[in-house]
Symmetry: C2
Subunit: 233 residues, 2 copies
């Protein structure tokens, strides 16, 4: 069904992935395989809403995905490998969020409002991904933890770049810009996590969500005030 697309797409790609090497066959076959892979990842993501990666069983995942236990090995060597795949996916969507937060225009106040809105929207739309990241950021699976930490560092660099270009940051040392970026990223993560368990704790969801948004905005405003008075201190 996607045959032409996939062959076109994959034929001349120097494929490094051991499993899921799919470059030499083509057509319905790998479309199905990719579909099974997606089914496994979705099943995993669904199960991970109520537990964490290291307590997940592969039988559990295959059962949820409607597949036999052995089928798992055709796609992933490990559950850790599935975890890393999920990290990549989750971080891609998070990256998109950060970009759109950075791209905001207007005065400081409007940018803050839009940023917090973007975060809230992202948590609403990608709840499973965000929860997964929050859980596994300090979780028990080392490669997953490292992947998340590395990507968050890259985000901080990106934010630092954007902040450095703003007129408010004139005269700042690179280290100071960097620490400001880290502060923003940490705050973003904290806020996202707060939105997360505001939605899942039941009782008056939208009210506590508004409360979190208000707090986050005020905090960002405070940091902003610190920024404009940073050099005269």
């Amino acid at each position: 069904m996607f045959a032409d697309f996939f062959t076109l797409r994959w034929r001349n790609s120097a494929n490094s992935c051991l499993l899921n090497d799919v470059s030499h066959i083509s057509g319905v076959r790998q479309a199905q395989k990719q579909q099974s892979r997606r089914a496994l990842m979705d099943a995993g993501l669904r199960l991970l809403e109520h537990q964490n990666l290291s307590s997940l069983g592969m039988r559990e995942v295959t059962r949820e995905a409607g597949m036999s236990p052995a089928g798992f090995y055709r796609h992933f060597r490990d559950l850790a490998e599935l975890g890393v795949a999920l990290v990549e996916e989750s971080l891609a969507s998070l990256h998109a969020m950060i970009r759109s937060a950075l791209a905001e225009q207007g005065d400081a106040e409007a940018r803050i409002d839009r940023t917090v809105e973007v975060i809230a929207g992202h948590v609403r739309d990608h709840r499973a991904h965000v929860r997964f990241l929050a859980r596994e950021r300090h979780g028990g699976v080392q490669p997953v933890r490292e992947a998340i930490a590395a990507e968050l560092r890259r985000f901080a660099e990106e934010v630092a770049g954007a902040l450095g270009a703003q007129p408010v940051s004139e005269g700042w040392s690179p280290e100071d810009v960097r620490m400001l970026a880290e502060l923003y990223v940490d705050h973003m993560v904290s806020t996202a996590a707060a939105f997360l368990d505001a939605g899942s704790e039941g009782s008056d969801e939208s009210e506590s969500e508004r409360r979190i948004a208000r707090t986050a905005r005020t905090q960002l405003r405070l940091i902003g005030v610190g920024r404009v008075h940073w050099l005269d201190s």
Copy 2:
């Protein structure tokens, strides 16, 4: 079969603690029991350095503690109950840290320095506890998660009280003091977590530790600048 005992035991006591009610016997007996309880908790804490609570097995714990599987039930109903006990312990030590951070004297600069030092020292001395909190804060075991969240809220209140008493906060609305307190607590947690995996990633531990301390200090200073200029904005 234990009918008579239990009815006698429970009938006229407004007893809230089912297990580990130890008030009526005395001497060597309960000292031994408490010792076993400690052994279980220590074993759990040791095992939790490389995995999270929901993937922990009780057989695993009892084995590590040098005890038979059935012995576990004399102390905890669940692994979740063990988890909650560990939360209480961990939060007690964290509470002590926060108090001593709040009690700092001197000008703002000196207080920031000492605060960051206190955090670093606490992570060094209670690594297992801190890691446990970081892991289970967003982990898969609901009661544990809630216990941590509730206590962190209480900490924020305490910090808010202390901040409100400072002369810098004159004219602030209670909500703003509160959001500032939350910002501080979040920052404290983030910093502690950063110290944590600075120590465990190997390569030049004390250098990256210093880097984190420097960043944290600068961030606190920035927030402080925001504080003093908050009202004129």
